[in-house]
Symmetry: C2
DNA sequence: CCTCTGTGTCAAGTTAACCTTACATAATCC
DNA sequence: GGATTATGTAAGGTTAACTTGACACAGAGG
């Protein structure tokens, strides 16, 4: 999924490894998310967006992203 | 993780099964999230919050929840 | 040249989010 | 009493998020 991780991380002068330490995952996990190898869990997404004082939707760009698997899009209600 | 799923779902007059169809997962998956058996994936959280015209943070209550596993809390930066 | 840092990627293992199938319960309706 | 609907739960399987360890490469500096 597209995201602003690299941009926001560099704006704080953080390395992938440092960001990983801040949110409690390995540097490979941060790298894989930045390079769109896999999607973060919801808690990891939350922890990351907190580091950047942002909301999940501000950091992870759902609208602009294709989903890899799982079913149809949300159909809404109203 | 604590969430307002049941409350919001019932306010729309949806069953667990119907909500599951709307977002493309089984009714058991919806039930498991409502009863806090497991956490949704980030895409499922997004699809669900879209049904309720809300943000992820409005539907899933991170601040009030304990995390089950994975590492330390976010430490922030600034 | 060698070393150190930061990044990208691969392999193999663990864990948890999802699946289907199935059974139990309570409410409703015929 | 029997059928239907909505919910809760459990077993067993698949998949992907994450781990550690390792290797490659570019840039900076001794």
């Amino acid at each position: 999924m597209k995201n602003r991780l690299k941009e926001l991380r560099e704006s704080l002068g953080l390395t992938q490894e440092h960001l990983g330490e801040l949110v409690g995952v390995s540097r490979q996990a941060i790298n894989a998310i930045e390079t769109e190898k896999f999607e973060p869990s919801i808690w990891l997404a939350y922890d990351i967006c907190k580091v950047f004082n942002s909301s999940i939707e501000e950091v992870f760009l759902f609208e602009e992203s294709e989903r890899k698997s799982r079913a149809q899009q949300s159909k809404g209600v109203g």
